[in-house]
């Protein structure tokens, strides 16, 4: 579905917007998760074929021409992995945020500029 | 072989003696003429002979060091050497000197021999005037050598040889074959350089009689001075003979030699008395100006 893809891209862009403009690193992390959701949507959408069902065999289905009834299982599988990875990264980022706040007492990304050039 | 060698050496001695006497006379004559121009009576013609005999006869008891002692020797060796590498009279065996051992380049570089020795001797005297004068003299020398070198190069192109004998023989056969007519630009450049070489006014800041008594030789006296004065006669004439050979057709006998060298010398003296003195940097700029351009033009014209 084209609309679904655009919703995904819209989420990606909104996430980028958050990441590029908001100063609070928690918001930046939120931006990341929004982008992640958008990407997942895009991926799953690419595996979708209109009018088909989820690739789960149920009793009574005839094995043989299932490929005409099911959507693509591969994108789903990829998204599963991507979601878990996203969780891992988000968790680490949040721990980073905690630790940075512990050290610097601010969540403003503009204040983390002791290293430059 | 031995006999040949002895003959050549004997001839060289004769040639040298003649030239020394003539040189001293010439110096006297010029002093006289300059004095007359200035409206003085001037010294007698034989004054240089008297000076030289007097100074050479004096025994010297003191010296400033080895180089000081050797300085005048270097100087006169340079003068004599320069003269001896130039064939003085074209065709004459006696006056051919040792010109077989080297060409014009040798003579040009041998000029420096005496200068260097003199400068070293003067340097060891520890007198600041000597050092200043040497500095000025050397600086000026580098400048006037440029037009002279260009002029010589022009001659080398013209005659396709660097041998002085060769250049002279190429000019034989009439006054119009002289370089001064066939290559006037080169001649003019060289003659201007000659003014500097002779350290005559306006290029006499090296000697600067007022503040630097007599230039580099300030500390030299008696026998040393005698040697220097002798050299002045010989070296001066060596240069004149060279110029005569290069630009004025050389000489086939002693009389022509005397006339020509005298004329060349007078030319420089006359120019000298009528100009004020240049400062060193001025003379450097001067020599690197018009004379150098003339020299370059001479080269270019010859090359064309």
């Amino acid at each position: 579905m084209r609309e679904m893809a655009f919703l995904g891209f819209a989420l990606v862009l909104l996430g980028f917007w958050a990441m590029l403009t908001r100063k609070n690193i928690l918001r930046i992390i939120i931006g990341f998760t929004i982008i992640d959701s958008g990407i997942h949507l895009i991926i799953v959408n690419l595996g979708y074929l209109p009018g088909r069902t989820a690739p789960i065999l149920e009793k009574g289905m005839r094995v043989g021409d299932l490929s005409k009834h099911f959507v693509d299982p591969i994108p789903s599988a990829l998204v599963l992995t991507a979601i878990v990875i996203g969780l891992a990264v988000t968790a680490l980022m949040l721990v980073y945020a905690v630790r940075i706040y512990e050290r610097k007492r601010t969540l403003n990304i503009d204040k983390y500029r002791e290293l430059k050039w | 072989m031995l006999q040949e060698t002895v003959t050549i050496i004997a001839y060289a001695f004769i040639s040298l003696l003649v030239i020394t006497i003539y040189g001293l006379t010439l110096n006297g004559l010029v002093m006289k003429i300059v004095a007359r121009v200035h409206g003085r009576f001037g010294p007698p013609l034989w004054q240089p002979f008297i000076d030289i005999i007097k100074n050479n006869a004096k025994r010297t008891m003191i010296y400033h060091g080895t180089m000081f002692f050797l300085g005048p020797v270097f100087r006169i060796a340079g003068g004599i050497g320069t003269y001896l590498f130039i064939p003085a009279i074209h065709g004459s065996e006696v006056f051919a000197n040792f010109s077989f051992s080297g060409d014009l380049l040798l003579v040009m570089y041998f000029f420096f021999f005496g200068q260097l020795g003199m400068a070293l001797g003067a340097g060891e005297s520890g007198h600041p005037y000597s050092a200043i004068a040497v500095s000025r003299g050397l600086a000026q020398m580098t400048a006037f050598e440029v037009p002279f070198a260009l002029s010589v190069i022009s001659l080398a192109i013209q005659y396709q040889t660097l041998s002085i004998t060769g250049i002279v023989s190429a000019q034989q056969g009439g006054i119009l074959h002289w370089t001064v007519f066939t290559n006037p630009l080169a001649t003019v450049a060289a003659l201007i350089a000659l003014l500097g070489m002779n350290m005559h006014s306006p290029f006499d800041i090296v000697l600067a009689p007022q503040e630097i008594p007599i230039g580099p030789p300030t500390e030299f006296h008696s026998a040393y001075l005698g040697l220097l004065q002798t050299n002045r006669a010989i070296f001066n004439l060596a240069k004149l003979v060279l110029f005569m050979n290069l630009y004025f057709g050389g000489a086939t006998n002693i009389l022509i030699l005397i006339i020509k060298t005298f004329s060349i010398y007078m030319l420089s003296v006359i120019v000298g008395v009528s100009f004020p003195r240049f400062r060193t940097e001025q003379s450097i700029r001067f020599f690197l100006g018009i004379p150098t351009i003339l020299g370059i033009l001479a080269v270019i014209f010859q090359k064309l």
Partner: protein, 226 residues
């Protein structure tokens, strides 16, 4: 302000790129060779009714190993980062009595649900990861209800290690007994549609579920602090 302007311009351009990308992607009306093959052969080869599970555990099992490792890394990383934390923080307020009681009651139910999910990964939607998360949510409820409670970290780690170990071991069994590393067919495929079927998929998903659950609990425990 100029910076905002630049960002807007760049994002608009990025949007145009995405637009261009999507616009030029032809919608498809049939599956590609590979996915068709998965669907057509999957049930027979792997014995899993849920073809996503077939892809995740069997065909692309190697990815899943990576996925498990990523989560493991996250847990380790959180532990690593939190290990150096400074002094203790002020205690948070204890939760209400209702929540405590509720969570106590709910915990076994939630764990059971989670177990169900990963055991039925090859039959119904869901699997090890989903099940693991569900289990973790039970513990989360515990944390919320009793902020002062401390779970037995060593036990947790033990479960995590051992389940991870057995997961890789089952992969190794696939290598030795069947066609290759992480081949789930070293156990008989069984009867299609039953709980104990689809080779080792339920086993593998169980290990994954346990591992994921314990890892997530570890992360939450670490983040909780105190």
């Amino acid at each position: 302000m100029a910076k905002y302007f630049v960002i807007i311009i760049l994002l608009i351009l990025l949007f145009l790129i995405f637009w261009n990308l999507q616009k030029n992607t032809a919608p498809r009306n049939r599956l590609d060779l590979l996915s068709s093959r998965y669907i057509d052969q999957g049930p027979r080869e792997v014995g899993s009714a849920n073809l996503v599970t077939a892809v995740v555990v069997a065909y692309r099992g190697f990815d899943t190993l990576g996925e498990v490792i990523v989560l493991f890394l996250a847990a380790t990383g959180v532990g690593f980062l939190m290990q150096k934390r400074q002094k203790a923080y002020p205690k948070s307020n204890p939760a209400s009595e209702i929540l405590r009681t509720g969570s106590d009651v709910l915990l076994p139910v939630i764990i059971l649900t989670g177990t169900y999910i990963f055991l039925h990964g090859h039959l119904t939607p869901g699997g090890g990861f989903q099940g693991g998360v569900v289990i973790a949510s039970g513990f989360l409820l515990q944390f919320l209800a009793r902020p002062e409670s401390r779970i037995k970290v060593r036990k947790l780690h033990f479960i995590e290690s051992i389940s991870g170990f057995f997961y890789v071991l089952s992969g190794l069994a696939g290598l030795i007994l069947a066609g290759g590393f992480l081949d789930s067919r070293f156990l008989p495929l069984g009867k299609w549609g039953e709980l104990i079927s689809a080779g080792a998929i339920p086993l593998i998903y169980s290990f994954i579920g346990l591992k994921v659950g314990s890892e997530l609990v570890g992360i939450l425990n670490n983040l909780k602090g105190d």
